[in-house]
């Protein structure tokens, strides 16, 4: 998990596409399963959570579930 967060941190600040690829290649070569599997899924929009995001955000924001802010946040989380 820490290695993945370190990778994300590096990717966010790295402008060059080739350098990003190298950072990812290094990550996948050095981090064991199942972490890198989750990482691959997270990076390729393949990670789905069985969590009621809409309800959680509605409670946190104190807004209705159908409000635009709640919908937008829920979409971000898949």
């Amino acid at each position: 998990m820490k290695a993945f967060s370190a990778l994300l941190d590096r990717l966010v600040y790295t402008p060059s596409r080739n350098d990003k690829l190298r950072l990812m290649a290094d990550y996948f070569a050095s981090v064991p399963d199942p972490d890198r599997g989750y990482a691959l899924a997270a990076l390729t929009d393949g990670l789905f959570f069985r969590v009621p995001f809409r309800r959680i955000f509605a409670e946190m924001l104190g807004r209705p579930r159908r409000s635009r802010a709640v919908q937008a946040l829920a979409r971000l989380c898949g």
Binding site: V12, Y13, P15, R22
Partner: protein
């Protein structure tokens, strides 16, 4: 002057904080007749003082950096040695900020005031660690006084730098670091992590590194970056003042990867604005937790805040039942910002 009414005998004038019964300023701006200097950074150790009292290290730093502006009558005082000045007794204690940095304990008729200058509690192999000095009045900085500032482990940050050098061995890693304190701390952390290759430094950093070495801080092999062959700098770690990392100077290096060692790197936008690819959160100032814990541990019933993000800290101080006061001393912030 009632000793328990701190404002009676510790006042703020145009030059800064002034101790009336002792007849001296602390870290004054403009030339002062008598000054006590907490440490060598340019926003605390200013030129043009007549008499100045400080640790031997701080006096050496002032001599090296200020030239003609160095104090005319320097007086060295080692940590922990009480000295009577006028009606007060002054003792210097380590502040853990940079080499020679001191907190100033002023005792006046049984009342204890500590002016801490800049300080940190985290480990630093290049200076004496912070000493906790119980007091009635604690005067603190507030450079990183927001809860978002949590500096974390400096050794882990340097680990990121070493890893990046392994991943990108063809790129010169240019690390922005303040010349006094941060530069030497980063080098010492690199050495502690087993990095034994030469560290290349910008010419502006040489004098302070030499000074640290002369006080027994081992920095290993340092080489000037200017004039080094281009191939030699591939995969090298190059330290430079923050103003130089985005400058033409850095562009001569092979495919430079810009890094910056500063507590400000906790703020993502700040790193991005400066084009930093590898932000390293390494600070020589106390973070939010260190500030609030230190205030509590001193036992002070009153706390004055000199400079920085004082609003949040004052709010916190008042919620703990202490009296807080903002001094809003002008012209104080990290040098070279």
């Amino acid at each position: 002057m009632r000793p328990d009414r701190f404002e009676d005998w510790l006042t703020v004038d145009a030059k800064g904080l002034f101790c009336r019964p002792g007849g001296f300023h602390i870290d004054p701006r403009g030339g002062a007749r008598r000054a006590i200097i907490t440490h060598g950074h340019s926003d605390h150790a200013r030129p043009g003082h007549d008499a100045a009292l400080a640790t031997p290290e701080t006096l050496a730093i002032m001599g090296a950096r200020l030239g003609d502006g160095a104090p005319r009558r320097p007086q060295a005082l080692a940590y922990g040695e009480p000295l009577s000045i006028g009606d007060v007794t002054v003792t210097l204690f380590p502040a853990g900020h940079v080499l020679g940095s001191a907190q100033v304990l002023i005792q006046y008729q049984g009342v204890r005031a500590v002016v801490s200058g800049d300080y940190k509690r985290s480990e630093d192999p290049t200076c004496t660690p912070f000493a906790l000095v119980p007091c009635d009045l604690f005067v603190t900085e507030a450079t990183f006084a927001l809860p978002v500032f949590q500096h974390g482990d400096a050794a882990a940050e340097v680990g990121k730098l070493i890893k990046s050098v392994e991943q990108f061995p063809e790129r010169a890693h240019v690390v922005g670091a303040y010349g006094l304190g941060k530069t030497q701390r980063v080098i010492a952390l690199l050495r502690a992590a087993g990095y034994e290759r030469p560290v290349y430094i910008h010419g502006a950093l040489q004098a302070c590194c030499d000074l640290y070495e002369s006080f027994g801080v081992r920095l290993g092999t340092l080489k000037p970056a200017t004039g080094a062959a281009r191939d030699e700098l591939k995969g090298a770690i190059v330290l430079a003042p923050p103003s130089a990392i985005a400058d033409r100077w850095a562009r001569r290096l092979p495919d430079p990867l810009t890094s910056f060692a500063s507590g400000w790197m906790r703020v993502r936008a700040r790193a991005r604005q400066q084009g930093v690819e590898l932000p390293l959160v390494i600070s020589d100032h106390a973070d939010w937790r260190e500030l609030t814990e230190t205030i509590a541990e001193t036992g002070a019933r009153e706390v004055w805040v000199t400079h920085g993000r004082e609003d949040a800290l004052l709010h916190h101080i008042e919620t703990t039942g202490r009296r807080g006061r903002a001094l809003a001393l002008i012209g104080r912030e990290d040098e070279d910002q």
